[in-house]
């Protein structure tokens, strides 16, 4: 029988303390769209469930023109979709959130849960990676700042240690003359776990033809969401032209390490990475 003790702390401090006292036997509960399914399937059997939803400090989105965006861990996908700052300055996040699950899942699922569940296909990970986001992690000893690239360790595994909670995500301002886009490959038009996800951020030089900076991240094709620096380097400083795009896309595909699973073969996924990376670069470079 599924039995556990349920706690609903009202402060981050309390939550951290409960978490470390539980000595690895507790799970944090946000929207529950991942965790409750795992529990029902007996994949995880926590003795303690620590519900974060009563903690005000974990809610809301803030924006500062200088410092950028702050997305607290309990922000839901639906909130991303309707937030004016996100829609105005970081539309890629709304665009990615729109592809997640269904309306019900978007109303319940949170940004923190999406990142901390740490599946390779998490749809918010590639966009946040190309936005150079960093995680603000709260432990008993205080706060830590971790670049998102270092956050994911393995499938279902983050860098968070016992007693640590993801408090928020900080997203710097987008570079000048830049645009970012997320392309997700799936079969259905909703309720679809990414077969491949590709995010590209492109910043152009004042000539609006030369790549000043490009960032490329991939989902669902490696043990964690990844940045492909090699592909980025091949484009950096170049005039954006079809051959350059194709080259970068091929490098990205070569650096993907997909597996064959129910959703697609490794070979097919690699090909999709190439196609989507080229499309995303073209798109991001064009509409500025």
């Amino acid at each position: 029988m599924l039995t556990f003790s349920y706690y609903a702390p009202t402060s981050l401090n309390q939550a951290c303390r409960l978490l470390s006292e539980a000595q690895g036997q507790a799970r944090l509960l946000a929207g529950g769209t991942d965790l409750l399914i795992q529990m029902k399937r007996n994949l995880v059997k926590p003795q303690f469930l620590i519900d974060l939803k009563k903690i005000k400090r974990l809610k809301g989105i803030e924006y500062d023109p200088e410092k950028g965006l702050r997305i607290r861990a309990l922000v839901t996908h639906s909130e991303l979709l309707h937030n004016p700052w996100i829609l105005g300055y970081y539309p890629i996040l709304a665009q990615a959130a729109q592809t997640i699950g269904s309306v019900q899942i978007r109303n319940k699922g949170t940004v923190g849960g999406n990142l901390c569940h740490a599946v390779p296909s998490a749809d918010l990970a590639p966009p946040l990676l190309v936005l150079n986001a960093r995680a603000v992690v709260r432990g008993l000893k205080g706060k830590k700042f971790i670049p998102l690239e270092e956050f994911f360790c393995a499938p279902n595994q983050t860098i968070l240690k016992d007693g640590e909670i993801l408090q928020e995500i900080e997203v710097p301002r987008m570079p000048e003359r830049s645009k970012a886009i997320y392309l997700k490959h799936g079969i259905r038009r909703a309720m679809e776990i990414a077969i491949v996800g590709v995010a590209v951020l492109m910043a152009l030089k004042p000539d609006r033809r030369t790549c000043a900076e490009v960032r490329i991240a991939l989902g669902a094709v490696a043990p964690t969401p990844i940045r492909v620096v090699e592909a980025e380097n091949s484009l950096q400083g170049k005039i954006i032209a079809p051959e350059e795009i194709e080259k970068a896309a091929s490098i990205a595909a070569a650096h993907a390490q997909p597996i064959t699973d129910l959703r697609g073969s490794a070979e097919y996924r690699q090909e999709i990475v190439r196609v989507l990376t080229a499309r995303a670069i073209t798109h991001a470079a064009r509409i500025i």
């Binding site: 029988m1 269904s102 490959h185 079969i187 038009r189 909703a190 129910l262 959703r263």
Partner: protein, 757 residues
């Protein structure tokens, strides 16, 4: 299309149970709560093929909250099966398990999770046996035997009409292909469920999510060795079935035995995983198909050799094997036909009936091949079909009698809808179908009637329609209410439905083979006509006119030429009751098709009293780099006979297309060594509302002489043409041809790669 003067029939009628379903009032089996009720759960095999050496239930029995644990020793060890003489499945495994999911033991407990916990405490010692998963390997004489017998062939049917070898010789062009189809689940939103309550000394009541209460009663009676009159089967509302709830399942028998043991009602609700793996799926097929045509497209010879992957038990196997052959050509005519169908046992989940029952698979093959032939010969595929189309009055080579046929009109309508030139990346595909309106034969070898109905008129002007029909969501209750209302000249709201309860309602075989409108519809119409006759007689005396001068319409019975002269329907009922000295005003009706004439061995015989026909166009948009297919629109022309409820028919067509679209493009049970890897709704993709294409429906109402008001079937036929229409559209858009379902992006990319090679 209004070509008649009916007041109810042919008008759009929302389902009679729509409001109760939409507001959550409707009671499904899972909603049933009885005092002291226990939860039942089934222990299933972990191995695809194993001998059971020992089952130790002692630990489970000791668990707090457990009320009973049963194994095969608690059953009568009687085999059951859809077709009586091929029964091969035990309620609980006796000696062997034959697939992952096979039932071994069952428990009843005070709560669902206690029951689950008990399952984990049952210890089964297995001797694992070599298993076989590929039907081509299973058919090999050296393969491990799954059942007692000479080989793993569970059914074989073969026949030839004419001489195909000569036919191929006469042909100008002969094409040969092999096609493959995949296992798919019905995915009813309501999982399979039942509640069994045994009342001492010997009476059993079962509430079940089923397509036929009498059929289930029959099967329970045989498996439990109880007289049918001691068993009462009731159908609460059913949340979809699609052929998957037509049979008896081991869990039904287990619930009954557990209830008998404990003296308490026992409820068993399948998990979604169980629905996916341990109920039924559509037969995957390997179809070797050879077709010979003249230069002008005239079909000279069609030859098919089919291997049906049946899974571990027979289920509807013989019927499926017959239907695939019987519908090899219809709606087309060929001069020579040869068919050979093998249904093979494998150590996998069991395959049975599903919407279209074996016909979608064969039609995918033949319509794909005809498309290839038309393209090769530079013919228009619609013209090719027109050239070979069956017509009213035809009798096919296998003796199917076509009593009404609007097929050519369907083709003409579809032709007019076809847009000429399409831009790059877009395509259009075409395919056709024919299907039964119920069966004319007793393949199930039961002795019961086909369809009965009783109608009683009440003095408040309403009538009670009493029928054994089990509406499973398709809207048959609504159609039967409409027929009753039309015949008696009252409103649909005046019909009180008493249905699907073996103790209260007369016999009906159930919702299967698209039979209800035609067969139960005829029975209902006849019962209503009898009531009307009694009423008109009484009114004719009162008004001093001949009964023939009277009309029943709009809640009144009046003189045709003097409408003001008449009385209300309610008054007529009172009048009739008085005039007969208080006898009830009751009519009864039945439908019984001609005697069994289908010969499975020769393949000859009229499968159904009437056939529906259809043609459809699929429009697709293709992303050639990703291999992604978007079906943008489906256009359907359907000859369903007279459309009694056009709204319900549109619903059935849209439902067929939603289902066919998923099965064409992505639905597939992925099995590895007998284990289903995607038994959930995230990894088994069912189309969402956002994926289903726009549907345009055109009805071609050939009025069938035998159907009630001329009606035929509309529930299944259309899925048959949906799948090949999409396949042909993909080929039209890309030039790539995929021979296996589903038509996934990965397969499309491979097909395109091959094309450029």
């Amino acid at each position: 299309m209004k070509h008649h003067n009916y007041s109810i029939i042919g008008h759009r009628q929302p389902a009679v149970d729509a409001a109760s379903k939409a507001t959550g009032q409707a009671q499904y089996t899972v909603d049933i709560q009885l005092p002291g009720m226990l939860w039942g759960k089934i222990l299933r095999s972990k191995y695809p093929h194993a001998r059971i050496l020992n089952i130790d239930t002692s630990k489970a029995e000791k668990l707090a909250g457990i009320k009973a644990v049963i194994t095969h020793k608690d059953t009568l060890g009687k085999k059951f099966g859809f077709v009586r003489n091929t029964a091969d499945q035990y309620p609980l495994a006796v000696d062997k398990v034959r697939y992952i999911g096979d039932e071994i033991a069952a428990v009843a407990a005070v709560a669902e999770d206690v029951a689950e916990e008990a399952l984990a405490l049952i210890r089964v010692d297995y001797e694992v046996l070599p298993a076989v998963f590929d039907p081509l390997e299973a058919i090999d004489p050296e393969a491990p035997l799954i059942h007692d017998g000479q080989n793993n062939i569970s059914a074989r049917l073969a026949w030839e009409f004419g001489n195909v070898e000569e036919g191929f010789g006469e042909s100008d062009f002969v094409r040969q292909d092999t096609f493959y189809t995949q296992p798919v689940n019905h995915c009813p939103l309501e999982p399979h469920a039942c509640v069994a309550s045994f009342e001492p000394p010997d009476h059993l009541t079962v509430w079940a999510s089923t397509q036929g209460v009498f059929y289930l009663r029959n099967q329970l009676s045989r498996t439990l060795d109880m007289p049918i009159s001691n068993i009462r089967v009731i159908r609460p509302q059913v949340g979809g079935a699609f052929g998957g709830k037509i049979e008896l399942f081991p869990f039904n028998v287990c619930a009954a035995i557990l209830s008998q043991k404990t003296g308490k009602p026992v409820k068993i609700v399948c998990t979604r995983e169980e629905v996916f793996t341990a109920t039924r799926c559509r037969h995957p097929m390997i179809i070797h198909l050879k077709t010979g045509v003249k230069k002008d497209g005239a079909l000279v010879a069609v030859q098919a050799r089919i291997i049906l992957d049946g899974g571990a038990y027979n289920s509807t196997g013989p019927v499926a094997t017959y239907l695939a052959g019987a519908f090899l050509c219809l709606p087309l005519k060929a001069r020579n036909i040869k068919y050979e169908g093998f249904r093979v046992y494998t150590n996998k989940p069991v395959c049975g009936a599903q919407r279209g029952h074996a016909v979608p698979q064969i039609r995918f093959a033949i319509e794909s091949q005809l498309d290839i032939i038309a393209e090769t010969l530079g013919l228009d595929p619609i013209e090719l079909h027109l050239k070979n189309a069956v017509q009213t009055g035809d009798v096919t080579l296998n003796k199917q009698v076509i009593t009404s046929c609007g097929f050519s009109e369907c083709l003409e309508k579809i032709k007019a809808q076809r847009s000429p030139a399409l831009p790059e990346g877009k395509g259009i595909g075409f395919a056709t179908c024919a299907f039964v309106s119920g069966a004319t034969y007793h393949l199930f070898f039961t002795t019961e009637a086909f369809a009965n109905a009783i109608i009683q008129a009440n003095e408040d002007g309403t009538v009670s329609l009493i029928t054994g029909v089990a509406d499973i969501g398709q809207g048959s209750d609504t159609v039967l209410a409409m027929i009753t209302a039309e015949e008696l000249g009252i409103g649909v709201k005046d019909i009180k439905l008493i249905t699907a309860d073996t103790d209260l309602t007369p016999y009906d075989w159930g919702s299967g083979s698209s039979r209800v409108t035609y067969q139960a519809g005829n029975a209902t119409k006849m019962a209503a006509a009898q009531v009307k006759k009694l009423l008109l007689e009484a009114v004719s005396h009162e008004l001093d006119v001949y009964p023939e001068e009277l009309v029943a319409r709009d809640g009144r019975i009046f003189v045709r030429d003097r409408p003001e002269k008449g009385i209300s329907f309610a008054e007529a009922v009172s009048l009739a009751q008085k005039s007969t000295g208080g006898e009830p005003i009751i009519g009864q009706g039945e439908f019984q098709p001609q005697e069994a004439k289908v010969n499975l061995q020769s393949g000859e015989g009229n499968t159904s009293p009437a056939y529906s026909f259809g043609a459809q166009l699929a429009q697709v948009e293709i992303d050639k780099e990703l291999g992604k297919v978007k079906v943008t629109k489906m256009v359907v022309a359907h000859d369903c006979g007279l459309a009694i409820n056009p709204m319900a028919i549109e619903g059935q067509i849209e439902g067929s297309i939603a289902m066919g679209h998923g099965q064409a493009l992505y639905e597939e049970l992925i099995q590895e060594k007998g284990q289903t890897l995607n038994a959930d709704f995230i990894n088994y993709r069912l189309p969402t509302a956002r994926d289903v294409p726009e549907v345009e429906t055109m009805l071609v109402e050939s009025v069938d002489p035998g159907g009630p008001y001329g009606a035929k079937e509309s529930g299944e036929g259309i899925i048959v043409s949906t799948i090949p229409a999409i396949a042909n559209a993909i080929s039209n858009a890309t030039g790539g041809r995929i021979h296996s379902l589903p038509l996934t992006p990965e397969k499309l990319l491979k097909a395109l790669e091959q094309k450029t090679k």
